[in-house]
Amino acid sequence: MREEAGGNPCRIGVYVCHCGLNIAAAVDCEAVAQAASEFPNVAVARHDPYLCSEPGQALIKKDIQEQGLDRVVVASCSPRLHEPTFRKCIGEAGLNPYLLEMANLREQCSWVHTHDHEAATLKAKELVRSAVARARHLDACDEFEVPIRRSTLVIGGGIAGIQAALDLADSGYKVILVERQPSIGGIMARLDKTFPTMDCSI
């Protein structure tokens, strides 16, 4: 069902990043892009020195609009680093941000197989193939919103609970401060003069 979004086969754009020489020194990025162009549903496959840069992102956005891409695969660094960047990028071009998939060619390929160019390039191709395969099945996801109550329960009336309650209450939030003992104050209330002011603790 997802392969045939809206009745048409999906159109995937694949972008292979050199990350300067961080990826390109070990991985033949051009060959990876070339291989990607032959995977099913891939409409465009390109390689670029820095995809996270302004011109790199502009390239992706331009393709989405001009080539009618509905999925994007970015083969670059770890998604833990730049997934938010590229989600935002395709979002700005009108695609749902969840229609992005990344292949980790830097932290998990070029940087760990630095001296074996052939194996690194082969691995890169397979990681991109996997990303494309996953991209074919991606669905748009909506971030939804729920109302949040402007009140806080503070459990414990020692110095920390009192301070948190006062900060919240002074900022206009309602606070329920709950203490097991008959009085708030906690351990602090038992202490004699306290450092550094050497005044009484209460």
């Binding site: 833990r80 109302p147 806080t152 609970g161 948190a164 006062l166 939030y173 004699d192």
Partner: protein
């Protein structure tokens, strides 16, 4: 303290306990039990007339039992609320024939023995957990004689003895003879930094508490002799080193070495400490008229109930675990719940206040917009497929799934409470749960694509986003080199890895499969990786039954910081991969295919209960 008591935005509930918390970030529903005070809080003027009439005398816990109080009492003069309270366990008045004298004396008529406990309910958006800490009881450390010698006291007892509001009005006296001690010995690390007794960690506050108290003693009694026996003095905070030097400057002696034993001189009740001074390597004997044990802090027992109610995690030392030790030190792993003060670990006042303000700010940041964005990587149940077996609800670490197994109504996921680990989808026997953005179809497509060419030469790895995948990234950042045969599939949690993903990989010809996640206890999704472990063990059993080599399916816990470990595991997996010959792979594929045929034949004979259950509704 009094500000908190009279703030228009604060509802102060004392003598109260949390009974139940349901709901999720933005919409927590809280049930609170407020125990009866037996004195009208708003009416009592704290005149104290009632106390004079009360015939019951019990130890005063605020003064650590060093003085006494009555059954009707105020915990301490500055108590908030200031209203008196009746200790109903000791009061004779619940049977007015026996006593009830206080009622007669109270002009405001605010004592009411018929007052009952109240159950209160509130809806809140966020929760700050400030459950504090307990103080170590040194009874177990027999060599210090805390229970045998009256002149051995704890640091908190000393606080009461030198406090102007304390039982002696601030006059330091010995408990045996009421005389002022001329010499005091402080013993550090009592119940802390010990692998054998007490706690293994440093309690953080005891060194400075002792340093402060030596200064206060020297200020009050310049001629007092004070010695401090220590392992290390940890004076690391702002102004701490200066205070430590001041203490030394007043003549306080700091001796490195903890006493092996304390004996009492039966005649004078002085104490004799035998100490090996580790700087001189000599065994010395010291005499002191009073010994103060600098006791450490430990997690209170009451924490467990709160921990269970809020699905929170604890570190190995028993205090609450923060979402991230560096970047989210006051957040819990459950969204909308924050930590303040010693609940998260031992702290001094300044640090507690800092953390409390941070927790308040984090809570406000969440509440300020009035609306909350919810992660779209959530689970969704297909009611047509759900058999209402309740398994998903059982494994959900966030209690985000509700299902009525008796009424057989389909499970419902509360999206706002769902954190997206995918454990429910991996556990569902009816394939009725779709994990958005990590669907079965998506993961199957990845497995197939990665094993399309030369599967015998590949190691398939499932890695959780927060630990193992991050550990693999860290190996990369550290430029650690490992064999290039590994192919990773990222899931948010290892709990998402369905058994069928493993079988599919073996069916496609994978020689070895690795499932990796956060270490047990460190799971980003509270405890979802427990289910990973169970599932892999189940798969091992099945492999054994089918005659497959179980070591071809590996389970490893790799944290985000363990790049080296990731590399080591990859090397180990590669060695293992090389032991799997093409014949073994072909045989596995054959066995799994037959198994599948057999299963589908069985399924034809016996329609799945799932469909039955759902159509009967």
């Amino acid at each position: 303290m009094s500000d908190a008591g009279r703030h228009p935005n604060i509802t102060l509930l004392t003598l109260s306990e949390i009974k139940k918390v349901t709901g999720y970030v933005g919409n927590f529903h809280v049930q609170i039990l407020k125990k009866a005070r037996y004195v009208e809080e708003g009416e009592c003027t704290a005149c104290g007339d009632c106390v004079k009439e009360c015939p019951v005398v019990v130890p005063d816990e605020f003064n650590m039992g060093l003085s006494s109080r009555r059954a009707i009492y105020s915990p301490f003069p500055q108590a908030v609320p200031s209203a008196y309270v009746i200790d109903i366990e000791h009061c004779l008045g619940h049977n007015p024939i026996i006593c009830g004298k206080c009622i007669q004396k109270c002009e405001k008529r605010c004592i009411d023995f018929n007052m009952s406990d109240q159950e209160l309910e509130f809806d809140v958006g966020t929760i700050v957990v400030a459950t504090g800490t307990d103080i170590y009881d040194p009874t177990a450390l027999d060599e210090y004689g805390y229970t045998r010698y009256e002149n051995v006291v704890t640091s908190i007892e000393l606080e009461r003895l030198i406090n102007a509001g304390g039982p002696t009005k601030g006059e330091l006296v010995r408990l045996t003879d009421g005389k002022r001690p001329k010499s005091v010995a402080f013993i550090q690390c009592v119940g802390s930094r010990s692998q054998r007794r007490g706690q293994p960690y440093c309690s953080n506050i005891c060194c400075m508490n002792t340093v402060k108290n030596t200064l206060l003693l020297k200020e009050h009694y310049p001629d007092i002799e004070a010695k401090v026996f220590y392992i290390d003095i940890r004076a690391f905070g702002k102004g701490f080193e200066e205070l430590f030097r001041r203490s030394k400057g007043t003549g306080v002696r700091y001796i490195r070495g903890l006493p092996g034993s304390i004996k009492e001189d039966a005649k004078t009740h002085d104490l004799i400490l035998t100490v090996e001074n580790t700087e001189t390597n000599k065994l010395d004997s010291h005499r002191a008229e009073l010994v103060v044990l600098a006791v450490g802090l430990h997690p209170p027992e009451t924490m467990t109930a709160i921990q269970e109610m809020l699905s929170l995690q604890c570190t190995s030392d028993g205090f609450f675990l923060e979402a991230h030790p560096k970047l989210q030190p006051v957040d819990s792993a459950t969204r909308g719940i924050f930590f303040a003060g010693c609940a998260e670990g031992p702290k001094d006042i300044r640090e507690s206040v800092t953390q409390a303000s941070a927790a308040a700010a984090r809570a406000m940041r969440l509440m300020n917009p009035g609306r909350l964005k919810v992660e779209s990587i959530t689970a969704e149940v297909d009611p047509a497929l759900c058999t209402s077996c309740g398994l998903c609800s059982k494994v959900c670490p966030y209690n985000a799934i509700s299902v009525d197994t008796r009424a057989k109504t389909p499970a419902v996921v509360t999206a706002a409470a769902c954190a997206g680990c995918g454990t429910c989808a991996a556990e569902c026997p009816a394939d009725a749960i779709q994990m958005h953005h990590f669907t079965d179809a998506q993961i199957h497509a990845q497995i197939d694509a990665l094993l399309e060419d030369d599967p015998a030469g590949r190691t398939l790895v499932f890695a959780c986003n927060w630990c193992s995948y991050a550990g693999a990234d860290f190996a990369g950042v550290s430029r650690l080199q490992y064999p290039p045969n590994s192919r990773l599939i990222r899931t948010m949690c290892s709990g998402r890895v369905h058994e069928k993903f493993i079988w599919r990989a073996f069916e496609k010809g994978a020689p070895v499969v690795l499932v990796s996640g956060c270490h047990i206890g460190d799971c980003h999704y509270i405890n979802a990786n427990h289910w990973t472990e169970r599932r892999v063990k189940k798969a091992w059993k099945k492999m054994e039954k089918l005659g497959l080599r179980t070591e071809r399916l590996a389970l490893e816990w790799i944290s985000a910081a363990e790049g080296v470990r990731f590399k080591d595991v990859m090397e180990r997996m590669e060695r293992l991969r090389q032991t799997v010959k093409p014949e073994e792979i072909a045989e596995t594929q054959q066995i799994l295919r037959e198994q599948k045929i057999q299963k589908s034949a069985e399924a034809e004979l016996e329609p799945t209960t799932g469909r039955e259950g759902s159509t009967s509704i």
